[in-house]
C-alpha cells in the first residue's frame, strides 16, 4: 500500500516539486536547530532599516537585526509549531476517532462527539485566544490551542473510516476469536487508516503554520524567538512607512512553504485515494 503510494507520488511532478520545497525548508529548520544557521536572529548587526546588501540579504529591521537570519530562524519556528501540532493533534484525533468509531453509538462515542461538537462550535480565534490567556506566559499555550482545535477534523475522518473497517471480515474474525478490543484497534484497525492520517497530517501542518501567523499577529503567538507571524506583525507597522523588508521576507518564505505543502498534500491525497486514480 505505502509502496504504491510512493510510486504514484513519484510520478506526480507537482507533488514531487512540493516535496522538494518542503524538504529544503526542513533542511533549513534542521540546520537552525543544530546551530548552523540563523543563530544571529536576535543580534543587532546593523543600523535600522538597512536595505538589502551582501551582508544583510534582506536588509535589517528597526533594531538593526538581520532580517534574513530572522527569516531562517522563523523557518525553524514554523516547523517546530507545525511538527508538534501535527503530531499531537493527529495522534489525539486518531485515538479518539478510532475509539469513537469502534464504539460508535455507544456512550464513549457520544461523549467524544459531544466534545467535538463543543470544540467546533467556538469560533477558532476566540478559542485560541482563550487558551492562550488561560495558559498565559506558557511557551506551549499556542500549541495547545491549536492541538485542541485541530484534532476534531482528524477524529471525524478516522471515525468514519473505522466504522467502515470494523465491518471487514478479518476484523469480525479477530473479534470472533476473542482478541481484546484495544489490541484489534491498535494492531488491525489504526494501521489501516495510516494513509488517511498521512494526508490529514499534511493538511494540519499547513493549517498550523497559517494559524501561527495569525495568532502571532493577534499577540497570541510564540513567547521567545522569532516567527514569520511576528515578522509580519512587525511589518504591519512598517509597510505604511515604506519599509518592506520584513513583509517580503516572511511573506515569501511563508508562501513558498505553504505552496510546497499544499502541492504535497494534494498529490498525497491523489496517491492514496485509489478511487480517484482509477478515474
Amino acid at each position: 500500500m505505502m509502496n504504491d503510494t510512493w510510486q504514484r507520488l513519484k510520478s506526480d511532478r507537482y507533488g514531487m516539486g512540493g516535496l522538494m520545497v518542503v524538504a529544503a525548508f526542513a533542511f533549513i529548520a534542521i540546520c537552525v536547530w543544530s546551530g548552523l544557521l540563523g543563530q544571529g536572529w536576535s543580534e543587532v548587526s546593523g543600523n535600522r532599516w538597512e536595505s538589502a546588501s551582501a551582508s544583510h540579504w534582506f536588509g535589517t529591521n528597526l533594531l538593526g537585526q538581520d532580517i534574513f537570519q530572522r527569516t531562517l530562524f522563523g523557518t525553524a519556528t514554523a516547523f517546530e509549531v507545525g511538527l508538534i501540532v501535527t503530531l499531537c493533534s493527529t495522534i489525539l484525533g486518531a485515538l479518539l476517532g478510532a475509539l469513537s468509531g469502534w464504539y460508535s453509538n455507544g456512550w464513549l462515542d457520544e461523549v467524544i462527539l459531544w466534545i467535538k461538537g463543543v470544540l467546533d462550535s467556538i469560533p477558532f480565534y476566540l478559542f485560541a485566544a482563550a487558551i492562550a490567556y488561560a495558559l498565559q506566559g506558557n511557551t506551549w499555550a499556542m500549541h495547545v490551542a491549536m492541538i485542541v482545535t485541530f484534532w476534531t477534523t482528524t477524529a471525524r475522518i478516522i471515525r468514519g473510516e473505522v466504522i467502515r473497517i470494523k465491518q471487514r471480515e478479518y476484523i469480525e474474525a479477530a473479534q470472533a476469536i476473542g482478541l481484546p478490543d484495544l489490541l484489534i484497534i491498535f494492531r488491525h484497525v489504526l494501521p489501516n487508516t495510516f494513509h488517511i492520517l498521512l494526508v490529514q497530517a499534511s493538511i494540519v501542518f499547513v493549517a498550523a503554520i497559517n494559524t501561527e501567523v495569525i495568532l502571532s499577529f493577534l499577540g497570541l503567538g510564540i513567547q521567545d524567538g522569532v516567527s514569520w507571524g511576528l515578522m509580519l506583525a512587525e511589518s504591519s507597522q512598517e509597510v505604511l512607512a515604506g519599509h518592506f523588508g520584513n513583509f517580503i521576507a516572511a511573506g515569501s518564505f511563508l508562501f513558498i512553504l505553504l505552496m510546497g505543502f499544499n502541492l504535497l498534500a494534494d498529490s498525497l491525497q491523489d496517491a492514496v485515494d485509489t478511487r480517484r486514480v482509477i478515474q
Binding site: 543587532v44 533594531l63 498565559q136 504591519s236 507597522q237
Partner: protein, 599 residues
C-alpha cells in the same frame, strides 16, 4: 422567485443596519468640525473612572472642573474654570475655600426634573469627590485625596452614605466649597483640574448608575453625540456659559505663538467649533496615513515618521513641504519611560545580608552601565527624547540640566568589570523575567534590552520575556512581585515634582506606584519631610538629594522623556496639548475657513 426577493430584502435590511451614524451636517449652516486623532480609546466616560489619558481628554470637554490650566501659558498656570477665582487658603494651609461661578448649568437630560438642566452648585462638587470613596461607583481617583481630607476616609468606612456630611468637604452654600485638610497639601488645587474631579450631578448617577459611563451628563462645552470603539463625536453644548476668550488672560505669548493665528479668537465665545470628532487609531501607521490623506486635522506624529517629518533634529525643524500644509510643535512629554528593578526580589534587590545587598547593587549598576541610552533613544525616539538620570525628569523645574549624566552613559567594559569584581558570572547571574504587555514595539524594546545585556556577558537565556495579554495582567503580575525587570512609563498627574518623587517612596510599594518596591528609610524620611512643602529652593535641594539616592542605589534604569511632535492642519487655529492642559484646549479650537469640502 419570491424567495429571491425576500432574501434580497433581508440583505438590504442588514446592509442598512450596518450604516449607522448619518452625518450631522445641516445643509444650510456650515458646520465647523475638528477631527482629532488619539492613539487609544477611552473606556468609561464617567469622571470617577477617567483613568486614561484618552478618557481625560473627553471628560474635561463633557464635564466641568473647578480649575484648569491656562490655554497658552507655559509653564502651566492654574486658571479658574467653574470656580469664581483662585482658592482662599488659610495661613496654616489646612482650610481652603473655593467660590463657584453662578449661572453654570448642566445640559438638559431626562435625569433632571422636566428634563431641563439645573444650575451647578457646590454640593455637586462635594458629591462628585465623595463618589471616589464609594466602592459602588467603581471610582479610580481616591488615591488623589486619600488621607488628605478631614473625615473623608472615615466616611467611606462608615458606609459611604451621601447624606452624611464629611467634615472636611462641605458646601457652605450653593456657591461656596470649604475643604479642610489633615495636613497641608500644596498640590490639592492641581488635583482639582483632573477629570477625576469633574462635577457630576447626583440625579444622573442615580438614574443611569453604571451606564453613566456611556451617557455623560455634564456642564462642559460639548455633549456626546455618538461613540463606538473607533470614534466618538462630540457636539457643541449650546447652553455652555458665555465667557469671551481673552488672549492675555490665557497667557498668550506673542513672541512664540504669533504664527498660530490665535489673535483672531480675541473676544469670541468658546467653544468655537460645532463638532469634535475623535478618531481612536492605535496603529501608528494607520493613523499617519489617515492624517496624510486629510482625514484628520491633528496627529501626534508616530516615531516611524520622524525621518519623514523633520528636516533637522537639532534644532527640531519641520520639513518645508509639510510646513506649507501643517503647523508644527515639539512638546516634551510630562513623564518618562524607565525600567525598574524589582527591589523586593532578593536575587537582585534589597537583601538583609549587607554583603549580598552590595553584590546585588553591583549587578544592578552593571546592568545600568550595559544599557545603551543612545541606541534606545535613536531607535525608538529618533534621538530627540531627553535622557536624564534618576526620577527628576526635564518636565519639572527641579530637573538639573547640569547634573552628572554618567549614569546614562554606556560603559560595557565597566559593566563587565563590575560583575566580575562582585563574583557574578554566567552561572551565578540570576535568570530575570522581563515583563511586558503584548505588542510588537514592546517586544522590540525587550529584544533591544536583551541585546544590551548580552554585550556585557549576560547570557541571553537568562533574560526571559514574560508576555502578558493585557496591560492589567502585566500590572497584576508586577504588583505581585512576579516580574524582575519592569518596563514602565509614568505620566505626571500634575506639574509638581512631588508626583515623581512618590514613585520611590517605600509605603507606595506594590501594588502602589512604587513598582520598584524601593524602600530606603533615608529616602522615605526626606519624602515625608518635604510632603507639605511647595516648590521652593529648599525642596529642590531635598529632591535632588533623593534623586541622587536613586542613582547611587541603581534602583532603575531611568529615564527618558519623549519629545512629542504635533502636526495640525494650517486651517486649524489652536495650540494643542497632551499633558496637563490636555483636552481643555479643545474648546478653544477654531477653523480659519469654516466650511470645507468633506473628504
Amino acid at each position: 422567485m419570491p424567495n429571491t426577493i425576500k432574501i434580497a430584502m433581508l440583505l438590504g435590511l442588514l446592509l442598512l443596519g450596518g450604516c449607522g451614524d448619518p452625518p450631522a451636517t445641516q445643509n444650510d449652516v456650515p458646520v465647523k468640525t475638528y477631527k482629532h486623532a488619539m492613539d487609544g480609546a477611552p473606556g468609561s466616560l464617567d469622571p470617577a473612572q477617567s483613568a486614561s489619558l484618552y478618557a481625560n481628554f473627553m471628560v474635561v470637554n463633557l464635564y466641568d472642573t473647578l480649575y484648569r490650566y491656562k490655554y497658552l501659558a507655559r509653564p502651566y498656570q492654574l486658571q479658574p474654570n467653574v470656580a469664581a477665582g483662585l482658592p482662599e487658603i488659610s495661613d496654616d494651609g489646612l482650610r481652603i475655600t473655593i467660590r463657584l461661578k453662578p449661572g453654570v448649568y448642566f445640559m438638559d437630560d431626562p435625569a433632571f426634573a422636566q428634563g431641563v438642566g439645573r444650575e451647578l452648585h457646590a454640593h455637586d462638587f462635594v458629591y462628585s469627590i465623595k463618589r471616589h470613596f464609594d466602592p459602588a461607583s467603581r471610582a479610580q481617583g481616591a488615591w488623589l485625596w486619600q488621607n488628605r481630607i478631614e473625615g473623608l476616609d472615615d466616611w467611606k468606612v462608615a458606609g459611604s452614605d451621601y447624606d452624611t456630611e464629611v467634615e472636611g468637604l462641605r458646601a457652605l452654600d450653593d456657591y461656596t466649597i470649604q475643604i479642610t485638610l489633615i495636613q497641608p497639601f500644596p498640590q490639592l488645587i492641581h488635583t482639582l483640574t483632573q477629570a477625576y474631579a469633574a462635577i457630576v450631578p447626583r440625579e444622573a448617577v442615580e438614574k443611569y448608575g453604571q451606564m453613566l459611563s456611556s451617557h455623560p451628563v455634564g456642564s462642559g462645552p460639548f455633549r456626546l453625540d455618538s461613540r463606538n470603539d473607533t470614534r466618538a463625536v462630540l457636539v457643541k453644548n449650546p447652553d455652555f456659559r458665555k465667557e469671551p476668550f481673552d488672549l492675555e488672560d490665557e497667557g498668550y505669548d506673542p513672541a512664540s505663538q504669533a504664527d498660530l493665528g490665535l489673535h483672531v479668537l480675541q473676544g469670541k465665545i468658546p467653544p468655537f467649533v460645532d463638532r469634535l470628532e475623535f478618531e481612536f487609531i492605535t496603529e501608528d501607521a494607520a493613523r499617519w496615513n489617515a492624517f496624510s490623506a486629510g482625514e484628520l486635522d491633528f496627529i501626534k506624529v508616530p516615531v516611524s515618521q520622524f525621518d519623514h517629518v523633520l528636516s533637522t533634529r537639532s534644532p527640531l525643524k519641520l520639513s518645508p513641504q509639510l510646513g506649507e500644509r501643517y503647523h508644527f510643535e515639539a512638546s516634551p512629554e510630562s513623564g518618562f519611560i524607565y525600567t525598574n528593578f524589582n527591589m523586593a526580589d532578593e536575587r537582585l534587590g534589597h537583601h538583609p545580608d549587607p554583603h549580598q545587598a552590595s553584590r546585588n547593587r553591583a549587578l544592578r549598576c552593571a546592568m545600568v552601565k550595559a544599557f545603551d541610552w543612545e541606541k534606545r533613544n535613536e531607535i525608538f525616539f529618533y534621538n530627540i527624547g531627553r535622557v536624564f538620570p534618576g526620577a527628576l525628569a526635564p518636565a519639572v523645574p527641579e530637573y538639573d540640566p547640569d547634573a552628572d549624566i554618567s549614569y546614562n552613559r554606556r560603559d560595557v567594559q565597566g559593566a563587565i568589570e563590575l560583575l566580575q569584581a562582585n563574583g557574578w558570572n554566567e552561572n551565578t547571574l540570576p535568570t530575570l523575567d522581563y515583563g511586558f504587555p503584548n505588542s510588537v514595539t514592546e517586544r522590540q524594546i525587550f529584544e533591544q534590552f536583551r541585546n544590551f545585556m548580552m554585550d556585557a556577558g549576560y547570557p541571553s537565556s537568562k533574560i526571559r520575556p514574560m508576555i502578558f495579554a493585557t496591560y492589567g495582567d502585566y500590572q497584576r503580575a508586577y504588583s505581585q512581585g512576579k516580574v524582575a525587570l519592569i518596563n514602565s512609563s509614568w505620566t505626571m498627574d500634575y506639574p509638581d515634582a512631588e508626583n515623581l518623587m512618590q514613585l520611590y517612596y517605600g509605603p507606595n510599594a506594590s501594588p502602589g506606584s512604587n513598582s520598584a518596591n524601593y524602600d530606603n528609610p533615608d529616602y522615605n524620611r526626606l519624602y515625608e519631610a518635604s510632603a507639605a512643602m511647595s516648590e521652593s529652593p529648599e525642596r529642590t535641594a531635598i529632591y535632588r538629594q533623593m534623586n541622587q539616592m536613586l542613582i547611587d542605589d541603581c534602583v532603575s534604569i531611568n529615564g527618558i522623556s519623549r519629545t512629542l511632535l504635533f502636526l495640525w492642519d494650517r486651517n486649524i487655529i489652536m495650540k494643542p496639548d497632551r499633558s496637563f492642559l490636555g483636552g481643555y484646549f479643545m474648546r478653544f479650537v477654531d477653523l480659519a475657513e469654516p466650511s470645507r469640502a468633506a473628504p
